[in-house]
Structure formats: C-alpha cells, structure tokens
Symmetry: C2
Subunit: 195 residues, 2 copies
C-alpha cells in the first residue's frame, strides 16, 4: 500500500509522514524532530496538532486502517476468490520496499503503545482476518481454492503469513516472498478449479 500524497493540509502531511516513518522505523524509531523535518515545520507545530506522541499514533493508525479498508473493499467481490487473493497480495507488494504494514510494525512495538492503540491493532487484524475468511469460504464454493476444515483459523494463519512475508520481503529486498504466500494457497486449489 502506498502513502497518501503529502500535498494536503499541514495536519494531513504530518499524519502521512508519520505513517511512512512508523512503517520504516517503528514507533520508537522516529522523533518529532525527524517528522518535523520531513514535513517542513518545527516540532512545536506538530505538538499543536498532536500534543502527545500517542495522539499522533492514534490518528495515524485510524487513518491507515480506514484507507486500507477502502482498498480491500475496492476488490471486486464478483471475482473468483483466488483472483481476489492475488489482488490482496499485489496491494501488499505494491508498497514501498522499505516499508511494511503499519500494523505489523506496531504489533512488534506492542510493549511501547497504549491500550487504545493495542485495541485498534486488534481491530485491524480482525477486519483483515474476516475478509480473508470470506475469501477462503468463497474460494471453496467457486472452486478457485481448496476447501479447508477451519476457514477462520486458516485466515488467521494466512494473515500472519502476509505480515511475516512483508518483514522477510524487506529483509531480503525482494517482493517474491509475498507472492510465495498466494502461490502456496493456490497450488492447493481444487482440481476442478474455475478461474
């Protein structure tokens, strides 16, 4: 996923650059000073909009979540499930190579974030896992994916695979590892596949 254009209001630019920095370096890996330099303002201006760093984190996370949700809701539900899964992987692989999912990053920063942020992260995970559950059950019906015993558990694992694959993709500097995930799923597709 790509960062929004940074040509909006100061507030919007702050949020956009905060998302980028968190996805690159994590919550403890950037400062108001870093962020201010990226936006082209002074740190006091950031404190004007977001008195505490946690306030900034909450807004950056909520914005990221809703933009991500728009993207997955934009995936045409009339497509075969396997094709929707491909789109999802393309979405993940399409982001900058030096950035991972903001929520995967913040899950790693679990010890450093507030309970409010933790709850928002859980919500993000659940939304994606629910969407993937539907893909898996639809795939069993339309024949594009092999039926599985427990679609919810499979979806949890699948989402974990994507998050892990994003970290590995950056570590090895290749988007291949994201597509390994879908290739694995699809290599198990029913013989009577309808693509």
């Amino acid at each position: 996923m790509n960062a929004p254009v940074s040509t909006g209001s100061t507030r919007e630019q702050i949020v956009a650059h905060a998302q980028t920095l968190i996805r690159q370096r994590g919550y403890n890996g950037f400062s108001y000073r870093d962020l201010a330099e990226h936006v082209g303002v002074k740190t006091a201006s950031i404190h004007y909009y977001f008195p505490q760093k946690d306030d900034l984190l909450i807004e950056a996370l909520n914005d990221y979540s809703s933009r991500t949700m728009q993207l997955i809701n934009g995936i045409d539900e009339s497509l075969p499930a396997a094709a929707r899964l491909d789109r999802y992987a393309q979405m993940l692989a399409g982001g900058p190579r030096d950035q991972v999912c903001m929520c995967g990053m913040l899950a790693a920063d679990f010890a450093s974030v507030s309970d409010r942020v933790r709850a928002a992260l859980q919500a993000f995970f659940r939304v994606h896992e629910t969407w993937l559950t539907k893909v898996l059950t639809d795939g069993a019906r339309d024949g594009s994916l092999k039926p599985c015993v427990d679609p919810q558990a499979e979806a949890r694992t699948l989402f974990a695979s994507f998050q892990g694959a994003l970290l590995a993709s950056r570590l090895f500097q290749t988007p291949e590892r994201i597509f390994d995930v879908v290739a694995g799923i699809e290599s198990r597709q029913a013989a009577t596949a309808a693509r």
Copy 2:
C-alpha cells in the same frame, strides 16, 4: 524459547537481558540504562564489554541464533515430520508471552540495524527455512504431511506464518495462534497418514 538463566558472568547476564529486552521492546525500545538496571550494574560496565550498542546487538543475536539452532537440532529426526513440526510450534509457544522471536523483532527494526546485523538476520531466516523445507519434504515421504509443489517456497511461507503468529499471539494474548499454523498444515495431511 526461553531466555538463559541470568546467573552467569556479568557479560553473560548482559547478553541474556539484552535478548529479553529486544524481544519485548525492540532495538530502539531499550537503553543501556534499562539494561544496566536489569543486570544490576552501571551503564559504564556495559560499555566496557560492548562499546557500541551495535556490538551488543551482534553478540546477543549470535548467541540467540546458536541457542535456537541447538534447540531445533535437538528435535529427533526419526520422528514423523508432523510431530517435528508440533515440537517446533511448542518451542515457539513455550516462550514468555510478552516476548516474540528476537529475529522477527529485529526484522521489524530493519531500518535501525547495521548491515552486519541484517546479514545475520538473513542467515537466521535461511536456517529455519531450510529446516522447515526438510520437514515438509520428509512429511511427504513419511505420509504425515501432504506433498507440496514447491517445498522451499512453502517453507518460507510457513516460517513467515510462525513469525506473524508470534506477533499476533502477543497482541491477542493467546498462544492459540501459533498452533493455528500447524493445525492448518496438518489438516491438509494425506489420507494415508502415518503418525
């Protein structure tokens, strides 16, 4: 995986507590002061052993890697592959609930670590992926796991699943998600399974 007992030499205690702190909070989430308090020395003593934080990171990572490798080498190769996979998952789930894999954590901290650390992380990933590749191919032979088209790619995905599942397990405060991963694999086992 559990941290080593912290009753060794000062140097050993520093390394052990550094591993714990990194697994809890990440590389940018702890300071020499935190570490010194845990060990019961002053920060200058830590600088005596590890002048730069990167020196400490390298040693903590190498120690973690070799201890982890001992653990996976300790999994009896005469066991059916599926049983070995169970052991692997138990090893991951057996660690403290507030800690994830040190290398998953540092993969998230990718932007903050030196090239030397990045290379060591890649090596860690490859070792585990290679071990899992062997489990998958053995599983196809002994019938305890379903054969797959590309065992190497499947192993990469499987390792990513475990890393992602560790993050999710901590986020949701339940080890269940680690066992989801093996349950998914084993639910695809061949009908003629030999366990």
